[in-house]
Symmetry: C2
Subunit: 463 residues, 2 copies
């Protein structure tokens, strides 16, 4: 039997995060304020603590991970690197498939890597309470977990339809002491405003973001801040511990570099966390194919232009330079809820524009088929988001078989699917369909983008 | 930071199971047939394959684990031994608390250790299909998982009320291709008989067992057998890989023996799996306190006599020598569903009678309080069954503090609670209560035991 688990001790954990902004061939485009000018760090101060804002705008290549943060992460980190030997055999592929198992964290995904860091920096800055939004609850549960361990209050605005229909992650937040309310709520102006007009609304992530930000910036004590689970530079930074661990672990089994690196991408953080240390190698000349995978139903990277757009539907954030389907885009109700974001992390987008990444989209049904194959070979049940990455992994492994090449494929197993079994049930009973936006509708969204005040297209590299 | 995770490589996995029957001071009492005589292996042949029956009656100390079984277990084994350093600090105890993390298996508990072995031996014996029963679904999902990987059909009779109210483990079984039906079903005589009389019955584990056994023994092709998830000797045998790994891992951190070993016990398999290798040491003179923990609501070990009783409510099994509250005992609806069994594994019971174990009962509310403490310190959310063990761990750690002794406490973290969040929700919103059987009612059950045909009390050791 060949080695399956490649395990690091606590003493081998990476002690610095990697910042891709330091190595991108062209400087990262700054976020813009309502006046069309780059926002200054001060302008973000009511929303985020200054120590995180400093990370957000940093161009330093390496940023030390405080020992106290590592002491929290040791509960599940270093995470295992595992070889998918059973899947390899099933496929009959000469490829070696390795994955970082981020499902081993207490909330079951990669999200706590940044939740813990954000909670800790806020605590250091004297903040006592964090607010955030959550859809199905992955991010909300991760922040609840982090706040509990760091010692902060946590307030989560959860989209009402998920709050009502998927109560389990809400209960999970309760175990960690967070206060989770359905959004729209009557606690904020934004929420009340919506409820007046549409008392029966199912809610939306956009509304929930508005509520969470409002409650952070209107706390006159100054002790509340807002926390975001993806998209932003500092969030991606905190996730790079995944890829840095993976590099050490691949070295332990004598692999100098992977040939293919794969991760699913909704806001971009799990993909970036695994891949950015390898993107750095690629910038330095290494031959690595790096694939962010998205659902065909929300084809941000594969169909949308690189523009300046708002991060939220309510237009309260600065304008971010990213591939965007438009902040008013409402993706179809696919089960990979974490991949239903209209935009994409600016760092990931700029790496796409620079020609460093090869984004790819998969249909929902193919992803579930890949997930069932995985569960029947490797045994574990993947999250629907992770299943999108799996579809690409299986394709690449089959390609290696056709080519007869012993490629090393590395991917991020970003989370388990134990809280997402209704999607499997729908798939297995034939109730799921594929979604793809008709060109006509896509054009409509792209046209909306043209209306964006001060949106600025940018074309560099091969874009 | 001290070492938290003690990790074994695949090459360090134990290659033999340990059979406590070889070392018990007095020979294990055999199961009895309807005529009051010991059942012969042949009589079990319609229910179990002969290779497992041989293990059931074996008095060999060590039994080799087939390489093919190890090749399946490597998906998650060796399981981590972890130190609960965060809980230790929170309690301010000088005790070192270590736990085997059995929650890392794909179905999330220790159950697959025997499910995989049973499926494999059945397959070897030419069996094509396994039947079983399940309450909330822990065992059913473990057997579904094992059958998928080994290549057997799997049929699970799930107690109707759980089938309807807790559909998630049913969906999990579906992912692994099992056929899960609500019990009572119209597929068996036993089920039809009940449905005729009580069409709206919520079902019971007793009925489900009868259905599963009936479907196994009435398959005229001879290709179907039945599988049980706890209680029996061969089931406990397969679980000893837990304790054998733990011994190696404790040695890796310089610990010659634990002072206290703790596991929750419903049918007894996770407790036995961790503790039996240490019970062997205790028989050989080691000073180890070994504590099986049960709920006060179902006090098999702490209040019930050691008798011969049926393993199921329908009286279809042989009579087993065990502590029993009576096969007609219906425990209150505590959330630790896996601990609601009227009896206890004969091997565990005989070790109690021999004075080797010190059983203890905890109330439901104290267990949930322990679970919340665990989730807020160690970060992970334990299964309600595991939480019973945690209550004892915390008590022992506090006692070590009072005594100022640096004891080593080892316990089995038998499963995670991600599929059991409704119990947490009920606890946190104040809807849970404690249960303890009034003496009057207990006497009634004990009196029922006197009616048992050919039941034989046995008193040895300190009993």
């Amino acid at each position: 039997m060949e080695q399956i688990k490649v395990l690091l001790n606590e003493s081998d954990i990476p002690r610095r995060w990697y910042n891709l902004a330091a190595d991108l061939p062209t400087p990262l485009l700054p976020p813009l304020g309502p006046d069309g000018n780059p926002v200054s760090p001060d302008m973000l101060a009511p929303v985020f603590p200054m120590n995180l804002i400093e990370q957000e705008v940093s161009a330093e290549r390496w940023i030390d991970i405080p020992e106290e943060i590592l002491n929290i992460l040791y509960r599940w980190r270093p995470a295992p690197l595992r070889r998918a030997l059973y899947l390899e055999k099933f496929l009959g592929t000469p490829a070696k498939i390795y994955f970082k198992d981020e499902s081993v964290s207490p909330p079951g995904s990669h999200k706590p890597n940044t939740a813990v860091a954000q909670a800790w920096y806020n605590k250091q800055f004297g903040i006592e309470r964090l607010t955030t939004e959550t859809g199905a609850g992955q991010w909300g549960s991760a922040l609840a977990f982090a706040c509990k361990l760091v010692g902060l209050e946590c307030k989560v605005f959860m989209v009402r339809i998920s709050f009502d229909q998927k109560p389990f992650r809400k209960m999970m937040m309760g175990v960690w002491g967070a206060n989770c309310v359905a959004s729209p709520s009557s606690e904020t102006n934004a929420g009340r405003h919506v409820l007046e007009k549409m008392p029966d609304t199912p809610g939306s992530l956009g509304i929930a973001i508005s509520e969470a930000i409002e409650q952070a910036v209107t706390d006159t004590s100054g002790k509340t801040r807002y926390s975001l689970g993806s998209v932003l530079n500092h969030v991606l930074l905190h996730q790079t511990i995944i890829g840095l661990e993976a590099k050490k672990q691949l070295e332990m089994v004598g692999i100098k570099k992977p040939d293919v690196v794969i991760g699913c991408a909704g806001g971009g953080s799990n993909f970036a966390g695994l891949s950015f240390p390898f993107v750095a190698d690629k910038i330095n000349g290494a031959d690595i194919k790096i694939i962010p995978v998205e659902p065909t139903a929300c084809p941000t990277m594969t169909r949308a232009p690189f523009v300046y757009d708002f991060g939220d539907t309510a237009c309260t954030t600065p304008l971010l330079a990213m591939h965007s389907l438009g902040h008013s885009f409402v993706p179809p109700p696919i089960h990979a809820g974490g991949l239903r974001y209209h935009g994409m992390a600016p760092l990931v987008c700029q790496a796409i524009v620079e020609g460093l990444l090869e984004p790819r989209a998969y249909h929902q049904l193919q992803s579930y088929e890949a997930a069932i194959t995985w569960a029947g070979t490797e045994g574990f049940i993947p999250a629907p988001e992770t299943s999108q990455a799996l579809a690409a992994v299986i394709d690449e492994a089959k390609k290696a078989k056709e080519e007869g090449k012993e490629k090393v494929i590395l991917f991020n197993y970003s989370g388990h699917g134990l809280m997402d079994l209704t999607g499997y049930d729908a798939y297995l009973s034939g109730r799921l369909t594929d979604y793809e936006l008709p060109d006509e509708e896509m054009q409509k969204y792209l046209k909306d983008l043209e209306q964006l005040p001060k949106a600025e297209m940018r074309k560099t590299g091969k874009w």
